[in-house]
């Protein structure tokens, strides 16, 4: 039996050398960055909304919530974006890397880069000052920020140095919410701590107004938090820590200044914004309610409540028809002027600790983890966007500090995504534990999970592990829970007590225990025949048919934290990681320890598509990653220091199309990709390039399609392109039953696009219309056949779009330049089809 050796020493040098050869694979951020870091900005026509997202600027369509472009080029966090006041099709952005960049956001092209040199914290533009922008910088001391005017020199070159700074205001707050430019840029208002300063550009004077900052209860929370200026009048609105909003007027006179108080918020006002006309003021805060103050009258206010999370920013579109709120749960809501929510752009929710770990929804291939309080979020890794939120707790979240909330602690998918089990708990005191397990069934009709069974107090103590038997041969879904109360319970799906025996529910089938030890983890073997449950230091193996104890392993190496069976050829091995840093591998055939190694395992994840197992260990310098096969005690791949922080969770995500890494060291990444989450909740992966880069072509294509007018010609053209796509990936299965989209049926198109005065009577058209909606091809008329074929093709290709857009886009990059030629060449063949359409048209007119 091999001894427990220290792994890192083994293969380190060889891996290093290989990494030099194939340098391309590295740890990259993969989306999930903050969308709510700064105020979102609308385009002039309100079609797009821009928001900063890590090092990028994202352009979203307000109508479809789709990300249209990612503007990348900054090398540090983007800290401010503004439309170019002289050309509203261009966007300025500034970043901590000290540059200001000018973008053409429609095409996603970087036009110019201005090198300023200082770390830039905020950006402001003015219509009056066309060739210069205002930025916030900090010069010497860490907490002293200045507002400066940067002159942007005119030059044809791509990179221009902009060193001409003129100082405007000193000692301001870092946050851009604390600076606002007034009516036509006549003055700028800045707030910090307890005072408001107003700088008048024409007079070049500063007026300062301070509020009482005494410690007594009434004034203790007078701090300014944000400021906004009325667009038409001399009026400054300031938000305060105690929830008050003050409207300052007459502030050009140090003696006659006056203010009005508006008080509704009970907690700090997070942001303020005036509508474009200035007729109303919008405010938001921790209450998760958007308040609209009309005519700045205290009694005249409207509310948009239950927005789900603290409002961090509010912005208004220049056209005045839309407004948007950024929330602390990484969400941007686009709201109509009449306070109807029209779109929600949701990134990865990150404001809470992740207890469920990372999972992959077998159906959507989305990453599943804790989201909003009491919710499970389904996050698409490909499009960096939240697909949906599943409300598990189903209780209104009350935002109040000190309130102990129900927490979603465990979740697991079973039977290929047909079942979802969740565990929620609330622990007010040590002794008062409220536990609830919920089982959700996937409903094909509504394409979502429906609550099937609710079990209160499934265990008497915390549930430590939850696993489904995912074997293909198992006919009844089986779930095993392990609890600190020393039991593991087997739950199976049975007929419920319904007299029609139609309803199904989950009941407890078996309760197992081992010497009253706490059950720490459980795991099913790949074929589902064996169940391994660890009881502190002892691993027990149970037969899943009869639930009898087969054998036990005991290594006396500390409490077992992780347990997993090997897969495919290694299915005879069982791996266990203990709390005091030992990784053990048992052979189930010989019932003996195969090997063990000294490794402080934090995360252990098997790859579902190969024998590989990933273990992430914690060392002093950071986290190290090891890939190994259970059959061999030597790791396949080691990467030291994948992150400075502790890695908390990891998951393998199967690739749709296997990647082809030739290097031996990276072959473990061919079938699946490994994602992991660190303590500060950055989602990282191994890749040759960042996933955002891969995404760009998609969006370009989307945009191209969007810009096309929806004419009959467009449909033909679009159809053709979809045919092309279809040829490229024919191997796809078609699961979804979809109704044909009405716009795609030619008969209806004709109906809608023919002028009314040449149309025959409705009774004549009726049968044709009904026929066109039928799917069966039994009574097809001669001229309808080709249409129907097209329809089906469309349908299939639609599915392929959804299922596999990732590969598709990779492909399109390759022939992106060819695309136009193809379209041009094919237009002749399309003309023929057009002619055919024309014939159809006139045939029924002739019949009149």
């Amino acid at each position: 039996m091999p001894e427990a050796g220290a792994w890192p020493a083994v293969g380190c040098s060889c891996v290093r050398s290989k990494m030099v050869e194939e340098e391309s694979v590295r740890v990259v951020h993969c989306g999930g960055s903050e969308l709510n870091f700064r105020r979102a900005v609308f385009s002039a026509d309100s079609k797009y909304v821009f928001c900063v997202s890590g090092d990028f600027v994202k352009v979203y369509s307000t109508a479809t919530e789709e990300c249209v472009h990612i503007l990348q080029g900054h090398r540090d966090l983007v800290s401010g974006i503004q439309l170019n006041p002289s050309n509203h099709l261009q966007l300025y952005s500034c970043s901590f890397d000290g540059t200001i960049k000018l973008w053409d956001y429609l095409d996603g092209i970087l036009i110019k880069t201005f090198l300023v040199g200082h770390k830039l914290h905020a950006l402001f533009t003015l219509t009056r000052a066309e060739d210069s922008v205002f930025v916030t910088i900090n010069k010497e001391e860490p907490d002293v920020f200045q507002l400066v005017l940067v002159k942007l020199p005119k030059s044809p070159s791509q990179e221009i140095e902009a060193k001409e700074l003129s100082f405007v205001l000193d000692y301001i707050n870092q946050s851009p919410k604390c600076i606002a430019f007034g009516r036509e840029g006549e003055y700028v208002a800045a707030v910090r701590d307890f005072y408001l300063s107003v700088y008048f550009f024409k007079k070049k004077t500063i007026s300062r107004y301070s509020l009482s900052s005494s410690k007594n209860k009434k004034h203790a929370k007078n701090n300014f938090t944000c400021v906004a200026c009325h667009p038409k009048e001399d009026c400054i609105a300031s938000g305060h820590m105690d929830g008050k909003i003050r409207l300052w007027r007459n502030f050009d006179d140090d003696r006659k200044y006056t203010y009005t108080c508006l008080h509704w918020h009970h907690d700090m006002v997070m942001d303020l914004a005036f509508s474009v006309t200035g007729a109303s003021l919008l405010s938001g805060g921790r209450e998760c309610v958007l308040v609209e103050w009309r005519d700045s009258v205290e009694k005249n206010k409207e509310f948009l409540p239950r927005l789900g999370a603290t409002i961090e920013h509010i912005s208004v579109s220049p056209a005045g028809d839309l407004l948007c709120t950024s929330h602390s749960d990484n969400k941007i809501m686009v709201i109509h002027r009449n306070l109807d929510t029209s779109a929600v752009i949701q990134g990865l929710v990150k404001d809470r600790s992740i207890l469920t770990g990372l999972m992959i929804d077998p159906r959507t291939k989305a990453l599943v983890l804790n989201g909003k309080p009491g919710h499970l979020q389904f996050y698409s890794l490909q499009s960096d966007k939240q697909l949906y939120n599943l409300d598990i707790v189903q209780q209104e979240y009350i935002n109040d500090s000190g309130l102990i909330q129900i927490e979603l602690t465990k979740a697991a998918f079973g039977s290929f995504g047909n079942w979802l089990a969740t565990v929620e708990q609330r622990e007010e005191k040590e002794s008062e534990l409220e536990l609830q397990m919920k089982l959700w069934k996937y409903n094909k009709k509504i394409q979502g999970f429906v609550l099937n069974t609710k079990i209160s107090m499934p265990h008497d103590d915390h549930i430590t592990a939850l696993c489904f038997c995912n074997a293909e041969r198992s006919e009844t879904p089986t779930l095993v829970t392990a609890g600190k109360d020393g039991h593991f319970k087997v739950w199976i799906l049975t007929d419920d007590s319904d007299i029609y025996k139609k309803a199904v529910g989950w009941t407890c089938d078996f309760v197992g225990s081992y010497h009253k030890y706490q059950a720490t983890d459980c795991c099913f073997s790949e074929d589902g025949s064996l169940l391994a449950v660890s009881f502190e230091e002892i691993v027990t193996i149970w037969d899943s048919e009869t639930w009898e104890l087969k054998c036990t392993f005991c290594q006396r190496a500390g409490k077992i934290r992780h347990l997993c069976f090997g897969r495919l050829t290694c299915s005879k091995y069982l791996l266990g990681a203990t709390e005091n840093g030992i990784l053990c591998c048992w052979n189930l055939l010989s019932c003996a320890l195969e090997w063990s190694a000294k490794l402080n395992v934090r995360v252990m994840e098997p790859d579902p598509h190969s024998e590989n197992v990933v273990a992430v260990s914690r060392s002093s310098g950071g986290s190290d990653l090891f890939v190994f096969k259970p059959s061999e005690p030597r790791p396949l791949y080691i990467q030291k220091n994948i992150s400075r922080e502790e890695v908390q969770w990891g998951v393998f995500v199967p690739r749709d199309v296997p990647d082809s890494f030739t290097s031996e060291a990276y072959q473990w990444l061919n079938r699946s990709q490994f994602y992991f989450l660190t303590k500060s909740q950055s989602l990282l992966t191994f890749s040759t390039k960042s996933p955002e880069e891969k995404l760009t072509p998609t969006s370009k294509q989307l945009l191209a399609e969007e810009s096309l007018p929806t004419t009959p010609f467009y449909f033909i053209l679009g159809k053709h392109r979809q045919q092309q796509d279809k040829k490229l990936n024919e191997t796809l299965e078609n699961e979804l039953v979809q109704l044909p989209l009405t716009e795609n049926i030619p008969a209806i198109n004709e109906l809608l696009h023919t002028p009314a005065h040449v149309l025959p009577s409705a009774s004549f058209l009726c049968s044709m219309f009904i026929n066109s909606l039928l799917l069966s091809a039994e009574t097809k008329s001669a001229e309808e056949i080709p249409n129907d074929v097209n329809m089906e093709e469309e349908k299939e290709s639609d599915d392929s779009d959804e299922e596999n857009n990732f590969t598709e886009h990779v492909q399109t990059t390759n022939n992106a330049d060819l695309e136009e030629d193809i379209v041009y060449q094919l237009s002749k063949s399309e003309e023929k089809e057009l002619r055919k359409f024309r014939k159809v048209d006139y045939s029924w007119i002739a019949a009149l």
């Binding site: 009516r183 006549e186 038409k232 009048e233 001399d234 409207l247 007027r249 007459n250 050009d252 003696r255 006659k256 200044y257 006056t258 203010y259 009005t260 108080c261 009970h266 700045s296 009258v297 205290e298 009694k299 005249n300």
Partner: protein, 686 residues
């Protein structure tokens, strides 16, 4: 300072009547305040907000409107349908005139001051011409359907606005016809209320009419077109009053929730002439309805059911930020309502319509400084003396020996003889008061209780010798030729030889009672006198003025004493001058001739003339009596003013004997407890 046994009296069940109207006179900087019982008080805003005059109330005369006209003439109107004019010199009512329109709800003087307009219950608006000594009915305007609750003149005097129930009418003064009728929305937060009462209107020179109503709205109307321009919903309850500044750049409204809102005319942008009305600051100084507001050039004045008169200065209008610019809250009258008989330890409390006589409790126990001694005998309520007729009591007094009580209403003076037989007490009214004794402003008994001094409202002083069960008129000091100013403060020397009397503005006159002639006149001072007293033995007259100055005047020498000159030379401590309530009572310690005892509503002070005066660097208020400090320290910090702030609000404090003080307190919480409950407001988090 010495230690005293203090009777801490809290059974004076006094509740000031609520304030109904205030009227500010810009010319004299005086404020007239009328209360719900018909009392009218005049405050001199330039004399440290001192209440210098008052007119007693009358049960049937509930004042609804108060206004100044023709400069300094004061008129009031009430629900008995009469218009009254007040004589501000003689402090009586000049005449009452029935308007013949039922109860009067509103009255306003024309911008020129020569005409008076009243709005009556029957919907009539009547115009009166003010003649030099009377008012004369001129004509009626077009009658309205419902009572006219509020009126306002256009500053040019050509139009008036009248607020009734559910509508506002605009009248042309020349023709007397209504040219517009503007209907006020009854809706209140979506619910239709029964009626919408227009509590106040204000006509601005640009033709805007501002109305406040019972639905909580402040609305702006265009009087030329009769249309609503803008509406501010500011309260969940009635908005009851409005007052506009003379410059028309700000106005103030008071609501039934006790909040006062300030509106300001603010330019929309700094360089344009376009202006808009903006609600700026709310002030919550009241707990109950704010029935009335006034707008002086530098302050917002409000008063209401909670009996406080609040003067809130506008910081942006105040030139120098001194203590004058601080918020004032006036609750108690600036005159004495309590007199005490030292010999029998009796207190006489004066209420609007009755007097109460109490005997103080006593204790046998002794204790350390600061101890509360248990009572061996509780205080006794000896007498409850109700007045006859509807008039309020103006003044009252009990003789030092405790066997005489005198009080006066606006039309009669009453004198009673008290007989004590063991625990029984019998009261005997002395009838047949002389005909000239019609009404008294101040009554005072001499120290030996043999003489009664009465200051009548004609300016004359009467001396009456009291005999067992009867009296004899001794002498009348006629007022100085040419003046009709009423005397309202009296002081007599303990030996009975000197009588000092002071009016509302001019100096203090000192009379020799023995020789029945005017002895001298203390030089006139700019500020009214708030309290007077003559010291025993030395016959020094101590005078307190409303600007917190204290003078000592030697009657025999006819000049200010050396100490008083020193005080004037050095000046008082700035904190002493910043106190905002006047000194209402001065007394002396019989054994310590160097001490002067005086008090205002918030402090009690003993001035020790032997000690050095404090300068601005020394601590004026010494919170703890120096018990454990060394003598050196005491000498270093010791100064002439020994101030105690334990008892407040202090209505009366006097020395009963050498070691005993009596202090009458009236806690504000007890007053609020007796008021009707305020409008319930939802408080967040409760």
């Amino acid at each position: 300072m010495g230690e005293f046994k203090v009777h801490r009296v809290r059974f004076f069940n006094y509740v000031p009547p609520g304030i109904r109207c205030v009227a500010y006179n810009n010319q004299s900087n005086r404020l007239a305040v009328s209360r719900t019982d018909g009392t009218v008080e005049i405050y001199n805003l330039s004399a440290n907000y001192f209440q210098e005059k008052f007119f007693p109330g009358h049960e049937s005369r509930a004042t609804e409107a108060l206004c100044w006209a023709e400069g300094q003439r004061l008129f009031s109107a009430g629900l008995n349908g009469e218009i009254l004019e007040y004589d501000l010199q003689a402090l009586n009512i000049k005449y009452a005139m029935d308007a013949f329109g039922g109860p009067i709800w509103s009255m306003i003087a024309s911008p020129s001051g020569s005409q008076l307009l009243v709005g009556c219950e029957d919907g009539s608006v009547k115009l009166f011409q003010i003649t030099p000594d009377k008012i004369q009915f001129e004509r009626n305007f077009d009658p309205q359907k419902s009572r006219v609750l509020s009126l306002s003149w256009h500053p040019s005097g050509t139009h008036i606005a009248a607020g009734s129930i559910d509508y506002i009418s605009v009248f042309d003064v020349k023709s007397g016809s209504a040219i517009h009728k503007m209907i006020v929305d009854r809706q209140y937060m979506g619910v239709s209320k029964r009626k919408c009462i227009v509590w106040g209107v204000a006509f601005l020179s640009d033709g805007t009419v501002i109305s406040v109503d019972s639905a909580g709205k402040v609305q702006f109307w265009d009087s030329a077109t009769g249309t609503l321009v803008k509406s501010h919903l500011i309260a969940n309850a009635d908005v009851q009053s409005i007052a506009v500044a003379d410059q028309e750049d700000s106005f103030v409204v008071g609501t039934a929730e006790g909040t006062v809102f300030h509106f300001q005319l603010v330019s929309v942008t700094s360089n344009s002439t376009e202006k808009q009305w903006v609600r700026t600051k709310p002030f919550q100084h009241h707990t109950h309805d704010v029935r009335t507001v006034a707008h002086s050039p530098t302050a917002l004045i409000s008063g209401g059911t909670d009996t406080h008169l609040v003067i809130r200065p506008l910081m942006e209008k105040v030139e120098v930020k001194n203590y004058d610019a601080a918020l004032r809250k006036i609750t108690f009258p600036h005159r004495r309502l309590i007199s005490c008989s030292r010999k029998r330890q009796l207190l006489l409390f004066q209420f609007a319509h009755h007097l109460e006589l109490w005997r103080l409790g006593s204790t046998a126990a002794t204790g350390k400084n600061g101890d509360i001694l248990p009572l061996s005998k509780n205080a006794d309520h000896l007498l409850h003396l109700k007045t006859k007729g509807p008039e309020n009591i103006i003044c009252s007094s009990i003789s030092p020996c405790g066997s005489w009580i005198a009080y006066s209403t606006a039309s009669r003076v009453f004198l009673y003889r008290l007989n004590y037989e063991h625990d029984n007490i019998s009261l005997q009214r002395i009838s047949k008061m002389p005909a000239f004794l019609r009404s008294a402003l101040q009554i005072l008994f001499s120290e030996d209780s043999t003489k009664l001094f009465v200051a009548s409202n004609q300016g004359s002083l009467h001396i009456i010798r009291l005999l067992e069960g009867s009296f004899k008129h001794l002498h009348t000091f006629q007022p100085q030729s040419g003046t009709v100013e009423a005397m309202c403060l009296l002081a007599v020397s303990p030996d009975g030889n000197w009588l000092a009397a002071s009016g509302t503005s001019a100096g203090v006159h000192v009379y020799n009672v023995k020789h029945l002639k005017l002895h001298c006149t203390v030089p006139a001072y700019n500020f009214p006198v708030t309290a007077l007293a003559i010291a025993p033995n030395t016959n020094n007259l101590v005078i307190a003025h409303s600007d917190q100055q204290v003078f000592e005047y030697s009657i025999p020498d006819k000049q200010y004493t050396e100490w008083s000159r020193n005080v004037q030379k050095q000046g008082f401590h700035h904190l002493w001058l910043q106190r905002d309530t006047p000194i209402t009572h001065i007394s002396f310690h019989p054994k310590r001739p160097m001490h002067i005892l005086l008090h205002d509503a918030y402090m009690f002070c003993i001035i020790d003339k032997s000690l050095p005066l404090p300068n601005d660097k020394t601590v004026l208020y010494n919170p703890l009596p120096p018990t454990n400090e060394s003598d050196v320290f005491r000498r270093r910090t010791g100064h002439a003013f020994k101030i105690s702030k334990i008892y407040k609000p202090l209505l009366f404090m006097d020395l009963l004997d050498e070691g005993t003080l009596v202090a009458v307190e009236r806690p504000l919480d007890d007053i609020i407890a007796q008021l009707p409950p305020p409008i319930k407001k939802k408080k967040f988090g409760t």
